[in-house]
């Protein structure tokens, strides 16, 4: 019995690791596990079902992420995995791992602040420049190069930068 259970856990871990290795096609330094997009991996016999959640309703990366997960699982030896999209609970940047925040910062994207700041109507949060660290920054546009980012500029080093907005 113990060995059966151990084998199940080991297989599930392998499936999780395979799914978790998939990166966001728009921010390739982050895996879907770092982002909190990967919600669950269920192993039933040798069939794997992966649950993912979209960041934004219209995030165009979701189809590609689902495809990449299938490929990663097939490569790891799991045949015909199914991908399920779950909406609830709604994705929040609070789920981003510490590791994810660190990687974002190193990549030149300012990591998200706590989600309670998003309701301030004209609330300009202070976002530190990921290049030089200065807090003397300004918002250029709340809608950046992807759904999840805003465009900022540092007044100290004059560099524009992306901010992963809280959600």
């Amino acid at each position: 019995m113990v060995t059966v259970l151990e084998r199940h856990n080991e297989l599930r871990q392998r499936a999780w690791d395979a799914a978790a290795s998939v990166v966001d096609p728009e921010i390739p330094v982050l895996t879907i596990a770092d982002l909190g997009v990967l919600r669950d991996v269920v192993l039933d016999g040798d069939h794997v079902e992966v649950a993912i959640t979209p960041t934004y309703s219209g995030c165009p990366a979701m189809n590609m992420i689902a495809l990449e997960i299938e490929v990663a699982l097939e490569r790891a030896g799991f045949r015909r995995p199914t991908i399920r999209t779950v909406l609830s609970p709604a994705w929040t940047t609070d789920w981003m791992s510490e590791e994810g925040r660190r990687k974002l910062h190193a990549y030149g994207i300012a990591p998200p602040q706590a989600s309670n700041s998003r309701r301030a109507l004209f609330g300009e949060q202070a976002v530190a420049c990921p290049q030089c660290g200065s807090a003397n920054t300004e918002l250029l546009s709340e809608f950046g190069s992807t759904s999840c980012k805003a465009l900022w500029r540092c007044r100290a080093c004059r560099e524009p930068f992306d901010y992963f907005k809280c959600h």
């Binding site: 219209g58 995030c59 909406l87 609830s88 994705w91 309701r119 109507l121 004209f122 546009s141 759904s147």
Partner: protein, 258 residues
Amino acid sequence: MRVANIQVSETPVVLYALRRADDALILGHRLSEWCGHAPMLEEDMALSNIALDLIGQARELYTYAAKVEGKDNDEDRFAYLRDVRQYRNLLLVEQPNGDFAQTMVRQLFYSAFADLYWRAMMTSRDATLAAIAAKSEKESAYHLRHASEWIIRLGDGTDESRARAQGAIDHLWAFTGEMFAVDEGERALIHADIAIDPGSLRGRWLTTLSAVIREATLDLPQTDWMQQGGRSGRHSEHLGHLLAELQSMQRTFPGQTW
């Protein structure tokens, strides 16, 4: 070639989901018309981002409507194979983009409503609608802030931008009443705690709106005559032109994919 319209069994929940899906799709399509034409690159990206959010919301709602209906329809068939009279969106969202002020006023009127509406719908007893609401609510908060900031900039800007913003407010005002109206089928959903009564949000909507309009040194019209019809398929002439573009591929090459 002409492809036949689909038939839809509009039970109260299907109709409910289609109405909100149509709002989101049509407004998303309108905003996407700005892609490549916005006054500056950042704004081009912002409008496309907002369009993407709305079309994403529409897809979730259409998919749910298809599931509840339980026939052969799906999100694509709802979007591409219904005619003007089968569309159930608000008249407000189908109004043409006009100039940038007109687009932003339409955006302010709608997003100030959507923000309140989706937040309230998070308590729906229908788990799928509550989940869609929880995602849409977060997105609407950004849309509202974006529109508010532009209205203030336009209203409190030059004589020209101020006149255009005020003109847009006066022009679009008559289309706002429909957001708060409810018919009998929807009344039943409200009693069952599946939907919320939009009429109960009008006071707060007006408060949000008034704060922005005041800051923008603009005025809200005093007239209270309101145009209705979109919810039951009686649309302005503009929707047909919009659908002609939106649907032309599927009407010409049925079932085409890539």
